[in-house]
């Protein structure tokens, strides 16, 4: 399942961060890494970007970027 498919107020576990180059590494460096729990706090009023909570802080990603992240264990 993709992170962009997760609904608001759901938690999931990151399985794989896809994409390439600088953007992928930047996402990883912000702590969005394999095995981390990630919580979908809310989508922006225009449904893009999305606000997430990971490692105890809030971060936003564009939906297109979230679609590169595979997750499982959705709760």
């Amino acid at each position: 399942m993709l992170l962009s498919d997760i609904k608001e107020n759901q938690t999931a576990r990151i399985v794989h961060v896809g994409g390439n180059g600088a953007l992928r590494r930047r996402i990883l460096e912000m702590g969005i890494i394999k095995g981390s729990e990630i919580y979908v706090e809310k989508y922006a009023p225009l449904k893009d970007p999305v606000e997430l909570i990971v490692k105890g802080y809030h971060v936003s990603l564009r939906v297109g970027e979230a679609a590169q992240i595979t997750v499982d264990n959705v709760k």
Binding site: R24, G31, E51, K55, S60
Partner: protein, 726 residues
């Protein structure tokens, strides 16, 4: 007494409270400039403390030292090349895990580093307990708790920093970042390869260089290639062998695996030093966000804030602007009487004072605007604004934060372009700066009012609205065009932290506001002063114009003949005659002004340019008005007043009549309005573009692009309209 000098660099994540600590350390003794060659702000301050001279350097806030963004490159290069005596990494204690990513990268570089666990109070209130002794022991460096906004722990921090600077440095052996076995094998193999290398020199510490080569770090690779002798390529080949091996082993790029493992290492530290008590508190910040980024009220609230900022900047700013205007007028009025009539007086009044006045007048706007922007930034609302607007701005290929500068452009382009500093990506910043001038600024409005009022009567409002829309549409078109050509490249990733809301500190707001204004006054003052002097020279010379009429004697003649009449006239007729006399005299003075303008260099240029403007329906008088508009757009109207010989330049009704009888057509007026909307921005804006893009190239480009676009669009309107009308 010869005091010891140490340089201390402050590093840390954005929103870690780094700037607050810097402000507390240095107070007002700060120097703000730019890092060489880039537009990233560099702040430093010199202080005396505990008998030492300390130079504090505020490095750009970054999340990592991987050289992707300009800020990261600056921060890393500074530590590697300038070798500050101590690096203080400021860590948001309430966000320890992510902050440690940058911290471990500093630990990997061979520099003296210490940690400030900032916002210790916030962390405590969240039920987070950090074992500082354990952390200090694990990473083999000093750790100090601080509360930046309450000025707690800052002295201890400086004391420890000095202690560290005085200590003899040894490469820490304990618990540096450890990678998995395969990677460690490659690192040590590459490291000994580097240590045994005899040619040239290896620019950095071998282990660190080995790690960076495995990560395929472009900058390190280049340095190694340039400095490690003529066979340096062999080193890179060796590194590539290891990279290939690791790629095969992990089925992913080594730099990705190493990022993962760094976080693994951090997870290990977190487990040992951080205990979270079950105390569940109310998250105020999240509650605020329930409203401020709410699906329904988020936008209206955002628009309200922007409206409020706009109002404050331009309405509240109007009062001090008026005072400044009065002050400048007072100075020039006093000088009128004091100085003898000569060229120098004209130069001083119309060149220098008018020029300086036109700069200083923007100061209230700048001060208020940056006060508001600082509030947005310091509270954390700026990221929410970007969060809300990103979807819309992304359509033009821009970041959500570009919205604010673009909107400010409707007021005045100068602060708007300065506001683009809030954008992190240089490409986004440049693009925003290039399209902001198409947001029709308030100084252009008088031009529209006069022209649309004269030629479109009741429909003037709709026409002016249309002009504004043309500006917006062309900014979108330009944005998309440049994004796919000149400023191509992946959009800046929107991996943006939404920091907890914080109460802003007045001290920080004021420092921020004052810094901006100082830059504005210093750098732009110079360019604008020179520009105004040039324009003055062009319009004041040549001095010895041979007038078609001897105006001065004609004026005296007229005065004399009226005065004679008044002498003999009845008491009742005297007033009327006096008025007729004044009218006749001012008519002559105006005619003289018109001829002077026509025969000045500016007039000659206008006449030379006339063929260029003819196809867009603007005559030589219009061309001169447009040229003088380069100083400030408001001047277009007053120049038109002089040239179209209207009665009294301030009276727009008279100017309208003069325009109507000048042979200008509604179509020509429309073309002129569009031209005014789009053509090169005013001098102050051009200076701002030069300053904020950091390059003459972009400044020239912006001027040429906007003027060409203006001509093309005006041409299409005028010629197209002419054809349609036929």
């Amino acid at each position: 007494m010869n005091q010891k000098r140490f340089s201390i660099a402050l590093a840390g994540n954005p929103n870690s409270g780094k700037t607050t600590i810097f402000n507390n350390m240095t107070g007002t003794r700060q120097k703000v400039g730019n890092w060489p060659g880039v537009t990233v702000e560099k702040k430093e301050g010199n202080i005396k403390k505990f008998g030492y001279d300390l130079k504090i350097i505020d490095l750009p806030g970054t999340y990592s030292l991987t050289p992707f963004t300009i800020e990261e490159i600056i921060a890393r290069d500074f530590v590697l090349e300038e070798r500050p005596d101590v690096v203080i990494d400021i860590i948001d204690a309430s966000n320890l895990e992510r902050s440690l990513y940058l911290a471990t990268q500093f630990r990997e570089i061979d520099c003296k580093v210490l940690f400030a666990l900032n916002m210790a109070d916030v962390a405590r209130s969240r039920g987070l307990k950090i074992d500082d002794k354990k952390l200090s022991e694990l990473l083999d460096l000093p750790v100090v708790f601080t509360v930046g906004n309450k000025n707690q722990g800052i002295d201890t921090l400086l004391e420890k920093a000095i202690e560290l600077a005085e200590s003899s440095y040894e490469i820490p052996k304990k618990r540096r970042v450890k990678y998995s076995k395969d990677i460690e094998n490659s690192i040590s193999s590459l490291k000994s390869f580097l240590e045994n290398w005899t040619e040239g020199s290896i620019p950095y510490n071998p282990r660190w260089t080995a790690i960076k080569l495995l990560e395929d770090d472009k900058i390190v690779k280049k340095r190694v290639l340039n400095e490690a002798g003529k066979n340096s390529r062999e080193i890179l080949q060796q590194a590539q062998i290891h990279r290939d091996f690791l790629m095969d082993r992990f089925d992913d790029d080594p730099e990705i695996v190493m990022t993962d493992e760094r976080y693994g290492f951090i997870a290990g530290i977190i487990k040992e030093v951080l205990t979270t008590s079950a105390k569940q508190r109310i998250d105020i910040s999240r509650n605020i966000d329930l409203v401020l980024t709410n699906r329904f009220v988020g936008f209206p609230i955002f628009l309200f804030f922007i409206w409020a900022m706009f109002q404050l900047t331009f309405s509240l700013g109007a009062y001090p602007m008026e005072w400044i205007d009065i002050g400048v007028n007072f100075v020039s009025k006093s000088l009128v009487h004091v100085l003898p009539n000569n060229l120098f007086k004209d130069f001083l009044l119309n060149g220098v004072i008018a020029g300086v006045g036109s700069v200083v007048i923007f100061l209230p706007n700048i001060l208020i605007l940056f006060f508001c922007i600082s509030i947005f930034e310091d509270t954390g609302y700026m990221s929410r604004a970007a969060f809300l607007m990103d979807k819309i701005m992304h359509l033009i290929g821009l970041h959500g934060k570009s919205f604010i500068p673009m909107l400010m452009g409707f007021g005045c382009n100068v602060p708007a372009i300065m506001a683009s500093r809030t954008l992190e990506s240089e490409k986004d910043r440049t693009l925003t700066i290039l399209i902001t001038p198409f947001m029709s600024c308030s100084a252009k409005l008088p031009v529209y009012i006069v022209l649309a009022g004269a030629f479109f009567g009741a429909r003037a409002g709709s026409v002016i609205f249309g002009i504004y829309m043309v500006g917006i549409i062309l900014s979108i078109v330009t944005g998309r065009l440049f994004r796919s050509t000149l400023l191509r490249g992946a959009d800046a990733p929107f991996v943006m932290e939404l920091p907890p809301y914080r109460a802003p500190m007045i001290k920080s707001l004021l420092i921020h506001m004052w810094d901006r204004s100082k830059i504005f006054l210093k750098k732009m003052g110079g360019i604008i002063l020179i520009g105004s002097v040039v324009v003055w020279i062009l319009s004041a010379f040549p001095q010895n114009i041979s007038y078609s009429l001897d105006y001065n004697s004609k004026i005296s003649e007229t005065k004399a003949s009226y005065n004679a009449e008044i002498e003999t006239a009845h008491e009742s007729g005297k007033k009327l005659l006096a008025k007729q006399r004044d009218d006749a005299v001012s008519e002559l003075i105006k005619a003289k002004k018109t001829e002077k303008a026509e025969k000045s260099f500016m007039g000659s240029i206008g006449k030379v340019l006339a063929p260029v403007f003819a196809p867009i329906g603007i005559d030589w008088r219009g061309s001169i008005a447009l040229l003088t508009g380069f100083v400030a757009k408001e001047i277009v109207v007053s120049t038109m007043g002089v040239l179209y010989a209207a009665d009294g330049t301030e009276d727009s009704a008279a100017l309208k009549n003069a325009l109507l009888s000048s042979g200008m057509t509604p179509l020509g007026a429309l073309a002129m309005m569009v031209f005014v909307l789009l053509y090169m921005p005013c001098l102050a804006t051009v200076a701002a573009i030069r300053r904020e893009t950091g390059s003459f190239k972009w400044m020239i480009f912006s001027v040429v692009y906007s003027t060409s676009l203006a001509w093309i669009v005006a041409f299409c309107i005028y010629q197209g309209g002419t054809i349609l009308a036929v």
